[in-house]
């Protein structure tokens, strides 16, 4: 709590792994239920949904906590920082952008396939869409780390906004 440390986010990631593992083991031990409509996907129990929901929150929190520490550091000091020129981030940005375009095309193909065949490959669609979002997030991280002017403010506690 004293600083923007990495200990708590890393602990959150470990906790997320533990929660997902518990959900997996819980699912392994479940008595398999018959589904009402043949061919339908099996449902998850409420306990597994709860474990996975907390697991996802912990994972997102831990991940963004580590990213935040990488981008903004452990402690702030009032200052201005102008990014220096660098080639590697540009190359990484171009490669990731090309990958994003390729994935976007592939995602569109999954939609066309679903429309034609009447079957949604949900795992594939979700995975490809997730990869696209993650690539855009990485592009933003690269931009913030290597191209953005950074500033730390020390603002008066009393302000006129919003009133």
């Amino acid at each position: 709590m004293h600083k923007n440390d990495t200990v708590v986010p890393f602990g959150a990631l470990l906790f997320a792994v533990a929660l997902f593992l518990m959900a997996f083991l819980d699912n392994q031990n479940r008595v398999s239920e018959t589904v009402a409509i043949p061919g339908a996907a099996h449902s998850l129990s409420v306990g597994i949904i709860g474990l996975m929901a907390f697991g996802m929150v912990m994972f997102i929190y831990g991940f963004i906590g580590l990213v935040g520490n990488y981008l903004e550091g452990t402690e702030l000091r009032p200052s201005k920082h102008i990014a220096g020129p660098s080639s590697l981030p540009v190359v990484a940005g171009v490669v990731l952008s090309l990958l994003l375009v390729g994935l976007a095309g592939f995602f569109a193909r999954t939609l066309v396939y679903a429309a034609k065949e009447g079957f949604n490959p949900s795992s594939l669609q979700g995975g490809v869409f997730a990869a696209m979002m993650l690539i855009i997030a990485i592009l933003l991280v690269i931009y913030k780390k290597f191209f953005m002017e950074e500033e730390v403010l020390a603002e008066e506690e009393k302000g006129e906004f919003p009133w």
């Binding site: 923007n4 998850l44 409420v46 949904i49 997030a137 730390v152």
Partner: protein, 437 residues
């Protein structure tokens, strides 16, 4: 272009006044943002769902089903058949769970770090109300697919609403539009509450919460006291914090879409449409502790007060209304029992280890909820050891033991540092000079 707009709208002033607000940096602040982004995703995916959902119980013929099914159920089948439709519906479902989990963890962080103290008491109360409203919104959406499981699980909530003495039947009538299931008005009523009135209330609460937060500023990490005493140390809202929030939003969408695609949270075809066969159901995980209380409270714990047509106080009222209400009111009153020294403003995050009683009580409270949840599994296969007397013992003893174990462990590890304030080396200015008003 900028100059043209600036001459007309004074954008520079807007930038200086609003967009350059200092935003303190600490990883725990992301829990509130995760909650907010879950709500944003719920609204966005919810808009798609409303385009294709029919809030009606009229019977229609659907290919693959021998008997007609309710239109609400049929429209879920239709949504699932649309390209990417099943994933979007699954993202909506998972986001509801994530929003409640993240809001709960956010409140827990506020509680453990003392951020609810003066001047943030009002925002604590609004935060608690937001958590309750989120749970009610999720509940009203649960029955909408109108599959056999969802309808049976929602009946538990209908029974709890009806159990409130004197006013319960009227509350259930307002919320469910009549008997549930059975009334043709139930689904349109729940749909209206779920997509319009409760989200509007939630938006109002979120707006007030953010506005008050901007006015009162964040509690800051303790190191900020030595770097800029009496000031708010942070990065500008735009562009730095906005980019960071953008990264978080994209990571949120990535993680939830991945999970939602792989694990469809509520595949309606697994349960089938409403039928005479009542499946073995449990309410969602955030109601499981209440369900557990309902299981262990004896059915004979009831009496009637013979006033105004008789007010019945039964087990559903004790477990489903009274105990949750006591916990809610207790939670709302926390800022008025735990105050700052000399009525000063709480400016910096407290370490949980420096407040052993509060931390131990919080963990004991969590243990109570976990034990209540465990009681919800009484009678399940593989849980034969969990009888009602065992569940009662765990519910009462486990939180008390947890409190003392936590307290003793904290005393052993950090006891020597409790009387001391953290050592802060002041770089410039007097401690809290600008803000001790």
């Amino acid at each position: 272009m900028y100059q043209w707009l600036d001459e007309r709208l004074d954008i520079t002033r807007f930038n200086n006044k609003v967009l350059r607000k200092a935003f303190p940096v600490h990883h725990t602040f992301f829990l509130g943002e995760i909650t907010l982004f879950a709500f944003v995703v719920l609204v966005l995916t919810g808009i798609f769902l409303t385009f294709n959902y029919e809030p009606s119980t009229r019977l229609i013929k659907v290919a693959g089903y021998t008997d007609p099914v309710q239109a609400a159920y049929a429209s879920i089948l239709y949504i699932d058949s649309l390209p990417f439709g099943a994933v979007i519906r699954s993202v909506h479902h998972w986001s509801a769970h994530i929003m409640i989990a993240a809001a709960f963890l956010h409140l827990l962080r506020i509680l453990l770090s003392g951020a609810y103290k003066k001047p943030r008491e009002l925002n604590w109360i609004i935060g608690m109300l937001m958590l309750v409203t989120s749970i009610v919104v999720a509940f009203t959406g649960y029955a909408l697919p109108y599959d056999n499981y969802a309808v049976t699980a929602t009946r538990i909530g209908h029974g709890i609403a009806q159990s409130v003495p004197w006013v319960g039947v009227a509350v259930a009538q307002i919320m469910f539009g009549g008997d549930f299931p059975g009334s043709d008005h139930s689904i349109p009523r729940l749909f209206s509450l779920h997509v319009l009135w409760l989200p509007l209330a939630l938006m109002g609460l979120i707006g007030a919460h953010l506005l008050i937060m901007v006015k009162q500023k964040h509690t800051q990490p303790k190191y900020a006291e030595k770097v800029a005493p009496g000031k708010i140390l942070g990065v500008p809202l735009f562009p730095q914090q906005a980019v960071m929030s953008g990264v978080l939003f994209l990571v949120y969408v990535a993680v939830v879409t991945l999970i939602a695609g792989g694990f469809l949270a509520h595949p309606v075809e697994a349960y089938g449409p409403l039928s005479a066969n009542t499946p073995a159901v449990k309410p969602d995980w955030y109601f499981l502790w209440i369900y557990g209380l309902l299981k262990i409270i004896p059915s004979h714990w009831e009496f009637t007060i013979p006033l105004f047509n008789g007010g019945k106080f039964g087990p559903e009222f004790w477990g489903g209304v009274l105990i949750p209400s006591i916990l809610l009111v207790g939670g709302l009153l926390i800022p008025f029992f735990s105050v700052t020294k000399d009525g000063q403003k709480q400016r910096y995050l407290e370490l949980p280890s420096q407040k052993p009683v509060r931390t131990s009580l919080t963990i004991a409270g969590l243990m109570f909820l976990i034990m209540g949840t465990l009681a919800g599994y009484i009678g399940d296969s593989g849980m034969e050891w969990l009888t009602i007397p065992v569940a009662w013992t765990l519910l009462i003893v486990a939180p008390i033991v947890t409190y003392f174990v936590c307290y003793i462990i904290m005393r052993a590890i950090w006891g020597k540092t409790w009387p001391q304030e953290p050592q802060i080396e002041f770089i410039g200015g007097a401690k809290g000079s600008a803000a001790d008003d």
